[in-house]
Symmetry: C2
């Protein structure tokens, strides 16, 4: 077996990204952080304008230690970030609700990542062109090749933002019900309720041309499948081809 | 019929909360904003420390135009916000993935809210005590009454943050596939894939005392039900009692 050059590699830890509350739940290694990012399509990006924080939901994807997201060239966030502004991109997977025997021990199982860096507008035409393809193909492998090509106006109207991850941390709770030792003797009901973002039945566009079939490349987006499983699989097909 | 004092009421609009990109998707009325907040338990809160934005996932709930969230007294976020710092609390519901006939028209259906205000530590003992009850009962109506009571140490270790909403906006896309007129003639597959956060089968704590049954008040948390439906129902039971 060849050694994995990434094995054990991680993001540097400082006050900015150290998990302080429940530090036993904190992880900084690339493998953990990247796996949680690649299982998501939705993130929340924080940035600051004149001292006011904004928290914007958006789509994103990862290439190595670089994160990309996009938006209209006109958006408030992108105008601000184009200069290379500090940002924090956060991804959260909610896995369960935890009902314990005391209010204090009520909790949830979750997996989250906070990534810090400086967000910049992608201005290099080649990097932007490639990003506009991967924005779609990262979710739906090989899809762009079969689409109507992007017009010059569309490319102009879309901005792509890139942020090299300077620091990141993952925080994971996966313990279900945990009560104080003496509370287990109480006649109080406690449970864990799993939750998951699940795919529904695909709804073909009512205006499809006759004979147009769903491509086999979309098979991963199957009804009742957890979205994160489809995303992880698509990520591997997009970036980790043999 | 009595007039509804809230009818037509809304949050004031300025540059801070105006939906600029796709302004046709923006809403500012209390009814729309509050309904999206009450259908969620997870939010992302943005705040600034020394010019660095942080984006933290956490639980929250609403009372009127006041939002509450909580954390350990030791957490970085709470230490900062206790002084009344500007914050932005965002909630996002992802409803579908939209695969169109061009890359540019790939999209998603979603409903999100951004709420702005100044976050402050709740220091009034009565408000804090009530908040610690509602933190649980807002999700699981009447649950606190049957739990082991909170200890003085637990109350001390839990901080509650409150933020009166100064401004807010909702942004909603619910259109499925929308392509450019001329693209409908292309032989390209397009679809909408619904997604939803769904509840799984409850897992009772393996250490339940014999004879302890699941309370009827948890019936709303039923397998395969969308989490947002259980949350909306619980909210009504908690705050809109007849």
């Amino acid at each position: 077996m060849k050694p994995d050059p990434q094995a054990g590699a991680g993001y540097p830890v400082s006050g900015r990204n150290q998990v302080k509350r429940r530090h036993d739940r904190g992880f900084y290694d690339h493998a953990t952080v990247h796996a949680l990012l690649d299982a998501a399509m939705l993130c929340h990006v924080s940035y600051v304008i004149d001292g006011q924080p904004f928290c914007t939901p958006t789509f994103f994807w990862r290439e190595g230690s670089r994160l990309y997201w996009h938006g209209s060239s006109a958006s408030r966030m992108l105008r601000n970030l184009a200069q290379g502004e500090p940002a924090c991109l956060t991804v959260t997977h909610l896995d369960s609700l935890v009902l314990a025997r005391s209010g204090f021990n009520h909790s949830a199982d979750y997996r989250s990542v906070m990534a810090f860096g400086k967000a910049k507008l992608v201005e290099d035409p080649q990097e932007k062109e490639r990003a506009l393809v991967m924005m779609v193909d990262r979710l739906y492998p090989q899809r762009t090749a079969g689409l109507r090509s992007a017009s010059a106006q569309e490319i102009k109207a879309t901005s792509v933002i890139a942020m090299d991850i300077e620091q990141a941390s993952a925080k994971i709770r996966a313990r279900g019900v945990v009560d104080d030792d003496e509370d287990y003797d109480l006649p109080i009901y406690a449970e864990r309720i799993p939750v998951a973002m699940v795919l529904g039945e695909p709804e073909p566009c009512p205006r499809l041309k006759s004979g147009v079939q769903r491509p086999a490349t979309l098979a991963g987006y199957a009804p009742n499948r957890p979205l994160q499983d489809a995303l992880k699989e698509a990520y591997v097909k997009s970036y980790l081809k043999p």
